[in-house]
């Protein structure tokens, strides 16, 4: 009985993330449009886009190999698994034994690797540019992410995401300087990894600046739909990660009844709304960086992570 209930909750969590992901993307777009005093597309536009893409015929390049056709499914699967491992409204999930922060980074890393391969596969120059830039950004963002994870692991005594989230929700953690530094570092990494504005503009198809869009330029139809969905999932994943690590209020820890679950889901949706609004606000108030400044930006994130780990190591009370 308990097993079935746990499975149901885990399944609910997976479906919730999948269902909310396009809505969240639409919400961020809406916030940005409203801040620019435009009406903006309706909130459900990403769903409509997905449906339209699925209905359309797939057009493949002549030079595309079997890898090109398989990769959208691989990317989507890896991202979805990673997203469903993150405790959104309840910790101690069925699969939480595998929800290790390092495993999540590895899943995202392999998704990115395959996407970069797909960009190279067709042999167009745009795909090549996109892949090389994406890999450059990733090689800088991943060490920074790992440093932040190490800080969290040092504080909570585990890299198990559920344990960390429970520790963060408990009153034992006070205000910690190293946690503040880690939060900033993780936000910078999240911005870079999702290709949001100072790094890459998700709304443009301008050749000179695009990174993610250049890689997926050759995709169409249901393949493109899967990749778009995976991109939305990745965005919601990072926001949920930030929410469950640094704003764990309202997350449910013990196995309790339905009302507590409702509170947990409500708190999660509220956190997403706040996160989406802040992201939209940040993106409208800042200009895109030159590609050559990206290493500086991510170097600063790495520096923050390093500093946090350092402070934590030197003195236990930071």
């Amino acid at each position: 009985m308990v097993l079935i209930r746990d499975l149901a909750i885990q399944g609910a969590q997976m479906l919730l993330v999948l269902a909310l992901a396009p809505l969240f993307t639409g919400f961020v777009r809406k916030v940005k449009a409203r801040l620019l005093r435009r009406q903006g597309p309706p909130l459900v536009q990403p769903y409509l886009d997905l449906v339209r893409l699925v209905r359309k015929e797939v057009v493949l390049a002549e030079s595309a190999s079997w890898l090109f056709r398989v990769i959208p499914y691989l990317v989507f699967a890896a991202t979805w698994v990673a997203a469903s491992l993150i405790p959104t409204f309840r910790t101690g999930l069925m699969f939480s034994w595998s929800a290790d922060l390092i495993a999540i980074i590895a899943l995202l890393g392999s998704a990115r690797f395959f996407l970069a391969l797909a960009g190279l596969d067709v042999g167009t120059s745009f795909g090549g540019i996109g892949s090389s830039r994406e890999v450059m950004i990733a090689s800088l963002a991943e060490p920074a992410m790992l440093m932040v994870v190490f800080t969290l692991a040092l504080i909570a005594g585990s890299t198990q995401l559920s344990t960390v989230a429970e520790f963060m929700a408990s009153p034992q953690v006070g205000l910690r300087v190293s946690l503040g530094l880690g939060l900033l570092g993780l936000i910078m990494v999240a911005i870079a990894e999702n290709g949001r504005i100072p790094i890459d503009n998700p709304a443009t198809h301008l050749e000179l600046t695009m990174v993610h869009e250049a890689m997926v330029l050759e995709y169409s139809g249901r393949h493109l739909a899967l990749i778009e969905l995976a991109t939305s999932l990745k965005l919601i994943l990072y926001v949920s990660l930030l929410a469950c690590l640094f704003a764990p209020w309202g997350i449910e820890t013990a196995d309790t009844a339905a009302p507590a679950l409702a509170v947990g889901i409500g708190a999660y949706v509220a956190k997403l709304a706040v996160g989406g609004f802040l992201l939209g606000l940040f993106e409208t108030s800042i200009a895109k960086m030159r590609v050559f400044r990206v290493p500086e930006f991510l170097g600063a994130a790495l520096m923050l992570g390093l500093l946090a780990t350092l402070l934590r190591f030197v003195s236990g009370s930071f």
């Binding site: 006070g174 910690r176 300087v177 503040g180 170097g299 600063a300 003195s315």
Partner: protein
């Protein structure tokens, strides 16, 4: 002292170190001044918190001085100087951001190790505050070393002084007279430096201090 007092004091001191790093990161002069104003603002907040925690009303005066002089008067003055000199679009760096950041991390590590070892057995709050203050001082020095533009060297000097104030308020019992005189001497220093900037500019048509070195016959 309760836990939350300690944590907030820590967080403010840590934010000060973080903003010192942000100063190192900036390469536009106006942005640098804005970050410096934020630095002074956080310093004022930190001093006010110390006043509250230590129950020392004279520290509130220090906080007000920091807020009025360092967060408002000095940035506005420097802003005007930059506008008058017409150097607001200049970007200057001796070493890259990455190198400066790495050096900064090294300095923070150094000050942690030194301070925590030297002040064994002292009050833990004062101890770690001192470590942060030393980091801020060293980062200010690093800022002065890695910049060529005289205005950003002034900013480095001012943030170094912020670190001194942080150290002085963390360790209990700095007399108010000392604080006021330090604040005024900083103001005087600003005026003197401002005059110097215009003199340098008149003479060499630039505020790049390399011109001075060339004039003295050092290097090249």
């Amino acid at each position: 002292m309760s836990r939350i007092d300690f944590d907030v004091a820590h967080l403010l001191a840590g934010t000060l170190v973080l903003i010192s790093f942000l100063e190192l990161y900036q390469d536009r002069l106006y942005a640098l001044l804005n970050v410096y104003a934020a630095h002074a603002f956080v310093l004022a907040a930190s001093v006010a918190w110390q006043a509250y925690v230590q129950d020392a009303p004279h520290l509130y005066v220090t906080a007000v001085i920091a807020l009025a002089f360092k967060a408002i008067v000095i940035p506005v003055t420097l802003h005007r100087i930059i506008a008058k000199l017409g150097i607001h679009r200049e970007i200057e760096k001796v070493v890259g951001v990455g190198t400066a950041m790495l050096a900064g991390i090294g300095l923070v590590a150094l000050s942690m190790v030194v301070m925590l070892r030297v002040t064994h057995g002292a009050d833990p709050l004062a101890r770690e505050d001192l470590a942060f203050a030393l980091s801020v001082v060293l980062l200010g020095l690093l800022m002065m070393v890695t910049r060529r533009n005289a205005v950003s060297q002034v900013v480095g000097f001012m943030s170094l002084e912020n670190g001194l104030v942080l150290a002085a308020t963390g360790a209990k019992g700095m007399p108010l007279v000392v604080e006021i005189s330090v604040a005024f001497s900083i103001l005087i220093a600003l005026i003197v430096i401002g005059i110097f900037l215009f003199r340098i500019r008149e003479r060499f048509d630039t505020v790049d201090v390399q011109a001075l070195e060339r004039y003295r016959g050092e290097r090249r």
